[in-house]
Amino acid sequence: MTALTITEAARRLRSGQATAVDLLRQVSDLADKLDPQLGVYITRFAGRAQEAAERADRELAAGLDRGPLHGIPLGVKDILATKGWATTGQSLVNDPSWWQDRDAPVVARLRAAGAVITGKTTTMEYAIGLPDPDKPFPVPRNPWDPVTWPGGSSSGTGAGVAAGLFLGGLGTDTGGSIRIPAAYCGITGHKPTYGLVPRAGCLPLGFSLDHIGPMARSAADCALMLDVMAGHDSLDPAAQPDVPGGYAAALTGDLTGLRIGVERTIPLSAPDRDGAVIPALNDTAAALAAAGAELVDVTIPVYRDLADADTIIMASEAFSYHRDMMRERWADYGRYTRAFIAQGALLSAADYVTAQRARRVACAALDDVLATVDVILTPTAATAAPAYEDIDLHTLMAVIFTGAFNSTGLPVLAAPAGFTTSGMPLSVQVIGHPLADATVLAVGDALQRRTAHHLAEPEIATHD
């Protein structure tokens, strides 16, 4: 079985092989069956989604085509505002009236493009930590093996796309929260260039590290979503004033003339439990070479510095946002969320400023590496998804290779790269130059024209 992509669904909608109502029924039936086990949704928009799908069909029948997302079912991480519904942040603490009177700009853009929003998806509380089973929220699980973590914090979006509960969705990424669930769930996730997608109406975690991005089966699907999502909005002071666009149009499958730096040293910093990460990286590099790319070995000497900066800055900025609420409502926060955020209380103002200064030094050093190549290729994580019971709270970030690139603000795509011998997904990251999101997506697309890992479905989604 291969999974349905946005690209294929859009084709079926226009060829008369399917309607938006059909697509919605298909994903809703799967959600009825699987969501109680997988914990993908916090809220399902059954009635509103049905209305949106019927409207999409009426418009297409009348000749009004809003583009490739018209009639496509999408999930939205529950830290992004949706008009008329409370955004919980998967927390007892969040004020339910927060932004309830309007959509986040990125959600509004998806709706205007005809997307059918099926509901709000599970997250780690306030996009950090791990699920606390004592709190009244679903515990998200990985459709490839429900005893394992789907990754976080965009857990529900990742698990939902992998299991076919929607065809794409929104995630956010402060230390890897798009790329980790994409990696562990065997799908594609894109952390855009910092400021490319406006963050207004999104609960903050680390103001200077937060990104909103698409998660879907394929890089091509992510490009279709990013074409709609990217663009300036004055409500986000960090929004890029001039957005290149044209992401889907840049996908040709031909990487002739592109120089790819393969980074094999980062995985050496953590144990490869499965022994499969470097072979998957090598196979990916070979597929990209077959697409015409030139491969060279590179090393990011400041990788650890960038990762350290992400850790210190995230803890400091998160604690700045949450301090007053944590003073008053400590026990209402989940145990793992408060454990992460309270780390900010252990750091000084000087630590924070120093981290920002060091970040500039490390970014400049990475620029020197990037000056020699168009993109850098490296694994997303040291292993496939761990079982919940095997997660070590204090070393969690050391086995994930994503946070360094939040410090840089560079565009990064996480794409499926194969499977372990036990059938769990593996992933690689493609890191690009500032605002070169189109190049990063084109590399992912070229890979996916030559491999089928991104189309593999977990058994749970294919059994009656």
Partner: protein
């Protein structure tokens, strides 16, 4: 519903008492009220955080103290180059 617990593994490390006392003082000063077990867990995390902060101090050098990361002009300049 699967019956496997989503509990993560418990801490097996035991931090030095001086670190525990430091963490207790810092969290109290910040107005937080963690339990004794939570303070102990934070004390396991503290050397990792402190090590990261100290490494960053070493590489920050004499870089200007720009406290806010603002990549907008930097990225635009790179794009225009």
């Amino acid at each position: 519903m699967t019956d496997v617990s989503p509990e993560v593994s418990p801490d097996v490390q035991s931090p030095p008492q001086t670190t525990v006392e430091l963490v207790r003082a810092l969290t109290t000063a910040a107005g937080l009220a963690p339990s004794a077990a939570e303070i102990e867990s934070l004390a396991v995390a503290y050397p990792i955080l402190r090590g990261a902060a100290d490494r960053l101090q070493a590489i920050a050098g004499d870089t200007d103290p720009a406290p806010v990361f603002n990549p907008v002009p930097m990225f635009q300049a790179a794009r225009d180059a």
